[in-house]
């Protein structure tokens, strides 16, 4: 647990949309940062898995974007923002197994349609704000 933080800590990352190999680097860095802050391992694991799935989604579905992680006294908040194609039907996208990922993404180990459900499962709060043709912002929170 974080001791008496005067102000929340904010980490900011650019997620490169053209490079599948580097996808996930921001999540790895967040995991390191949270470890250094002495956050408990279960919280770290939940935050990093949820963020990692979201980061991968930004790369495979939305040409990259920006990620912000806010560490406060009560929670870790993750905000993932892209200017990709948007999600036309969020309810459908949230279903396990639903995926529009092309076959080449599947051969890379993703595109099983489990990303958004995993993000929901690992976090205490998740909200998707998406406009077709404009972009998607996903906000997640993990409480200590």
């Amino acid at each position: 647990m974080v001791n008496y933080m005067a102000e929340p800590l904010v980490f900011h990352f650019e997620v490169d949309g053209d490079n599948f190999t580097s996808a996930g680097q921001a999540s790895v860095q967040v995991k390191k940062n949270l470890r250094e802050l002495g956050i408990d391992p279960e919280t770290i694991r939940r935050v990093s898995i949820a963020m990692y799935e979201g980061e991968i989604n930004m790369v495979i579905h939305a040409h990259g974007g920006v990620a912000e992680v806010i560490v406060s006294d009560e929670s870790v908040e993750i905000i993932l923002k892209d200017t990709g194609p948007g999600i036309p039907n969020i309810e459908q996208a949230m279903q396990e197994g639903f995926s529009t990922a092309p076959d080449n993404v599947r051969s890379l180990g993703f595109g099983a349609g489990m990303g958004l459900p995993n993000m929901k499962r690992y976090t205490d709060y998740m909200h998707i704000d998406s406009v077709v043709g404009v972009g998607t912002t996903i906000t997640m929170k993990v409480n200590y």
Binding site: F20, T21, K31, R45, G109, N118, R121, Y122
Partner: protein, 118 residues
């Protein structure tokens, strides 16, 4: 069993993390779909896979896994090995196919851990 037992049972080669072979392992999983691996939060210390890219290493790292076993003699790149080294992970490669590798470990007492999170 230890990672060293896994290495012996699978006739595997150690590509990195040799200093951690004595670590105890209680469960494992095998998959080529990383989101499926990420869906099972219960402790899984070993990932067996035929998929070879940087996301395999990051997935294992996110899950706090101790060891990755590449089946069918798959060889990760030096960049992947360097990524794994940063977190002290052991990487093994075995000539055995996925089905056989899983079967050998399972029948020697290494179970899966089938619960979904939440």
């Amino acid at each position: 069993m230890t990672i060293n037992d896994i290495k012996d049972l699978l006739g595997a080669q150690v590509l990195c993390g040799g200093e951690n072979l004595d670590k105890e392992i209680h469960s494992a999983c095998g998959s080529d779909m990383m989101s499926d691996v990420l869906a099972y939060v219960k402790e899984q210390a070993v990932l067996m896979t035929g998929l070879v890219n940087a996301q395999v290493i990051r997935t294992a790292e996110m899950m706090d896994m101790l060891c990755i076993v590449f089946v069918r003699s798959k060889q990760p790149s030096q960049d992947m090995i360097d990524l794994a080294k940063e977190s002290g992970m052991v990487i093994l490669t075995t000539p055995k196919r996925m089905y056989e590798a899983c079967g050998i470990l399972y029948s020697n007492g290494l179970k899966g851990n089938g619960e979904l999170h939440g």
